[in-house]
């Protein structure tokens, strides 16, 4: 019964923490844009929170560089499990044009488990909303939480 409760609570209102792991600011601004009146994702129960300790979903943007990698791992460790991770934008998914960079620490899913991939440079707001909806669907399908 507790499991069902947990799942229901998670699926109904995802709290989001935004981890900027060496992005170009573009995905980050578009995430904030999602919260403003035009797209307004708060109607789906999404809320941007100030601490990873409150979060259910981590939105990780940017190519993960060597300096920020340690911090990303720490933020992931601080997030209460079960949590979801979304690789946000081409950089987090594959490194994009920064694969040749001397400071590139590898794509995000090499370091932490990723649940949702939202592609684009930057992803369109519609794509972002779709990604979040997919994340919620994924929770609902999970058998053991």
């Amino acid at each position: 019964m507790l499991k069902g409760l947990k799942k229901g609570a998670l699926a109904r209102s995802l709290w989001v923490y935004h981890v900027s792991a060496s992005p170009c600011n573009n995905c980050d601004i578009e995430i904030l844009d999602l919260l403003t009146p035009r797209f307004d994702v708060e109607r789906f129960g999404l809320l941007l929170v100030g601490s990873p300790r409150h979060a259910d979903l981590l939105l990780v943007t940017g190519m993960v560089n060597k300096k920020v990698l340690d911090r990303v791992l720490r933020v992931y460790a601080q997030t209460p499990k079960p949590c979801l991770v979304a690789a946000f934008g081409s950089c987090a998914i594959s490194g994009d044009l920064f694969v040749d960079s001397y400071n590139f620490a590898g794509p995000l899913d090499k370091h932490i488990p990723v649940d949702v991939y939202i592609g684009g440079c930057p992803p369109k707001p519609e794509a972002m909303i779709l990604g979040v909806v997919r994340a919620i669907e994924k929770i609902k399908k999970l058998k053991d939480l």
């Binding site: 981890v19 900027s20 792991a21 060496s22 992005p23 170009c24 600011n25 573009n26 995905c27 980050d28 601004i29 578009e30 904030l32 844009d33 403003t36 009146p37 035009r38 929170v49 100030g50 601490s51 990873p52 940017g62 190519m63 560089n65 300096k67 920020v68 911090r71 933020v75 994009d96 044009l97 920064f98 040749d100 960079s101 001397y102 400071n103 590139f104 440079c121 930057p122 369109k124 707001p125």
Partner: protein, 397 residues
Amino acid sequence: MAELERKIIPIGPFHPLQEEAEYFKLTVEGEKVVGLDIQLGYMHRGHEKICEGKTYDQIPFVVERICGICSTSHPFACVQAIEDAAGIEIPPRAAYIRTIVGELERLHSHLLWVGLAGHFLGYNTVWMWAWKYREPVLEMLELITGNRNHYAMFKPGGVRRDIEGGMIPPLLQVLDAADKKIMMLTKAILDDPVLHRRLEGVGVLTKEKAVEYSVVGPTARASGLATDVRKDDPHAAYDWIEWEEIVLHEGDVFAKAKVRLLECFESTKIIRQCLGKLKDLPAGEIDARMEYPPDGKGIGRYEAPRGEVFHYVKGDGSLYPVRYKIRAPSFMNIKSNEVAVLGASVADAAITLAAVDPCYCCTERIAAFNTKGKLLYTWDDLVKLSQEKTARMGGGS
């Protein structure tokens, strides 16, 4: 009175008020800030090195991804540097289109800053309204370039897409609507007693200090320093049209906000004139071919929404540049925070740090440390390394 104990308040690297991962170490005595240390490097991606492995046509795409907010300013300066090195003249139609895209970006960037400033103050109404009125601007950019951000519009010798005649009336319509809404927002902000009380006299940067720290862009113009690359070193279509440079003298956060808001109207004025001029020019002439890759040096300057951005390129006649150098406006502006924040209260620190509209993505530098935390290269070592490399590249200067 007993001496107050010094405490350290860390802000970042991940902080709810910061979009970017940066680390500020505030040293405080009671509520007064007495020391500021900024540690960068969380966003360093090595653009200059990547550029050396790309052809001249690919470089604008790389520098575009330095920053998602100034994603026209960097290509703007970049293509000018390459054109300077290769000696190409761009057709007037391309110059007008460049100016239009550049000014649309300034509009969206300034509105974005105003919104974020409201957010930093905990005044989320300002944030929501400013960003709501920013949407039509993004729509215009999408109509012209095909994307909301990262426009991929510029290439050495011209622009990639034309603004066709049929697009101009709907653009003017959106522009008129946006103008009205921005006017409403500006009046609301400039008349707001809460914002006056909160921002006036906070984080003052005097004109002397502005000169001393060589600040650029709206930060300098709010401190009474008239510096604007669009006026001082006109390029694209900026000297063919009428517009004014906004200069205020107070130097506080409120003046910085006011400069940006008033500049929005200059931007719409510029865009409207450019769209008018496009009608008289033959359609389709937007591209001057670059026949040979440049052999020599070139510089490009552009007034980004945050100040002057400077690009330098050196080619040797091959397809790839030998050296690519970028200086972003925040590099100059961030340092001035030392003056503006010191002596102020902790509560004012966040908005003062944000008032220069810092863009850490643009300005990232790295320092090399070994695993025990010892700095591997000092300033002198880096200067020596740089001079050695210049000598290797053949003569330098």
